[in-house]
């Protein structure tokens, strides 16, 4: 009995950092158990691969903090990509990027408006928007990819600075912006507040619909940035890409300690969550394990991470009988 209680308390203390612990374990395993793991090439490859999901995960985190969810991210990647490519090939790169971002943000705004102004559940709203965005993406270019010919644009997505991919700098930069937003700006604090207790925010005069709208717009914006990078790497705009990206970003947020009930989670946890998946990927590849096994391992890790992060809530519930803050 005593051991259980102290183990639980330990778990509670460590809880905000559970993702980093898992990450550390993976790094250790990789460093000692896998050849070439710690090479610069490998590490930068991991960062390279997962920067885009990293951006999506940041946007997803903002939405999840409000107890919402954004299932449309993958489709928005495709929509951004095809839009940007089309405009880019006809006019110029910057206009293309701007149009891509704009269209994506509009999609986010629609989602945000529906979620905030009606009682429609975010799951279903973004599920619907996922279809709408995908259909739109397909329709715009007749389901065909649009190659982009601008060399500098294509290069930027894959380029590196000091051995670290440029897209990673973007990811980290955006993450810092998000951190700043969530801790220093009132609107950012309101994001946590709305997820934690929406009704009380309303009573305090916080414009809850605006907060919700903001996070969906930001999620779409961040997704669009990811989409632009993706387009650059692909060398063309593709309307069929991004499938299931949102599930990966959700998994990363959850593994990183975010709670689907809102109001809980930290930016660093989300980043750790993304890196965890990156590391798994890398470890499996370098170990020569068929990629088919990846899903099973990822599934187990997601389960493990969530089970760990639930230890806190469960312990709290039973002992005090206080209202649980998921």
């Amino acid at each position: 009995m005593r051991n259980k209680a102290s183990a639980r308390r330990l778990a509670q203390r460590l809880n905000p950092y559970s993702a980093w612990i898992v990450l550390l374990v993976l790094v250790a395993y990789g460093a000692f158990g896998v050849r070439n793991f710690l090479s610069q090439m490998n590490l930068s490859a991991i960062l390279y691969q997962y920067s885009i999901i990293g951006l999506l995960a940041l946007g997803q985190f903002l939405v999840i903090l409000t107890a919402g969810i954004d299932l449309s991210q993958g489709s928005v990647v495709a929509l951004t990509s095809i839009t940007a490519a089309l405009v880019m090939t006809r006019y110029n790169v910057w206009l293309g990027i701007a149009c891509g971002l704009l269209l994506a943000t509009s999609m986010g705004a629609i989602s945000g408006l529906l979620v905030s102004r009606t009682s429609m559940p975010p799951f279903l709203v973004t599920l619907g928007m996922m279809g709408v965005a995908r259909g739109l993406a397909m329709q715009i270019a007749n389901a065909r990819p649009v190659p982009v010919y601008n060399d500098s644009f294509i290069a930027f997505g894959s380029s590196s600075l000091l051995g670290i991919p440029v897209s990673t700098y973007i990811w980290v930069g955006v993450a810092l912006l998000c951190l700043f937003f969530l801790t220093r700006r009132p609107l950012g604090r309101y994001v946590y507040a709305v997820g934690s207790s929406e009704e009380n925010c309303r009573l305090s005069g916080i414009k809850v619909p605006s907060v919700k709208l903001t996070v969906y717009v930001l999620s779409a914006l961040l997704t669009a940035v990811g989409g632009v990078i993706w387009t650059s790497r692909l060398g063309s705009g593709s309307p069929v890409g991004g499938v299931n990206y949102e599930l990966e970003s959700i998994a990363a947020v959850v593994v990183g300690g975010g709670s689907l009930f809102g109001g809980k989670g930290r930016i660093d946890g989300v980043m750790a969550g993304v890196l965890i998946f990156g590391l798994i990927n890398s470890i499996l590849n370098l170990s020569g394990i068929s990629p088919f096994w990846q899903g099973m391992i990822k599934g187990l890790i997601v389960l493990l991470a969530v089970a760990l992060s639930q230890l806190r809530t469960r312990g709290g519930d039973k002992e005090e009988g206080e209202p649980a803050n998921a």
């Binding site: 429609m120 619907g128 259909g135 088919f292 391992i297 599934g299 389960l303 089970a307």
Partner: protein, 325 residues
Amino acid sequence: MLKLTYLQQWKVRSKTDNQRILTTLIILVALFAIAAILSRGVFLKPSNLLNLVFQNAILGVVSLGQFLVIITAGIDLSVGSLVGLSTVLLMVFQFAGLAGALVMTLVVPLVLGLINGFFVSLRRLPAFVVTLAMMLFAYSLAQVISGGAGVYSGLNGAPLSPALVAFNKQVIFGIPYPAIVWIAALLGVSLYLRLSLGHFTYAVGGNELAAFLSGIPVVTVRLLAYILSALYASIGGILAVARVGEGHPASGQPYLLDSIAAVTIGGANLAGGEGSVIGTLMGVIILGTINNIMNLLNISPMMQPAVKGIVILLAVYINSRKKRG
């Protein structure tokens, strides 16, 4: 006799559920009307309607399992992967004879459903995450078993059982076999809901704590919901193999989102405790009708996701308004 008991059951449905059934019915009738007009009456021909049922049997069955889980305020994101896994299992185990293959196809997903239920029900982890993990897991498992590609014959080259090949073509009283399976599935769920554990599904989804304090075996009810969802997914997989003659890990992909769409269009509430079997049935038919209409209007299949998306948004919007009133 079944009709009578159904009517009796009608009496004890909540007002909201009744309202939603009505709303969904109106949508369905409206869509039928549109389809009939656009097709100059062809749509309403029995052969076309039968075809509609035939096409949507798989979704129909899978949606019923998803329905049960959603009533418990959960969700099963793994149904798509479980369908795919079932198709692979059914093909691969042909060498054990049709019976053997069927057993494996039903048992393995059942166990996976049990695992889902275990973590959601006993370990109290969020259903979204657990079934997401299972989705990844089951898909991967299917890939490993099938070698990543489609499976066209059994492990040792054993061919697809002729019984299965013929299955799709068989008809009883003019109704194709897959439709019979769907009807059987419907009856199965309806029957389950009249058993104690099935009846309690609504209570557990509506307010787990209150259900617990009323003496309801909450854990068992939840567990069963996930087990049944997996079972129905595997039945869906069997129907899928019968239709295309091959097994592929990704063959279940479309059924995940479509099943959720069908259940919610049918009036179920993701928060649990609200919804109906007939609503889910209508939801599936609505989705099928929309596909039909799109074909009639020569709308390219590219637009399908968009149209589906809009329908989901509309249906959810209408149901969400009913809540306030």
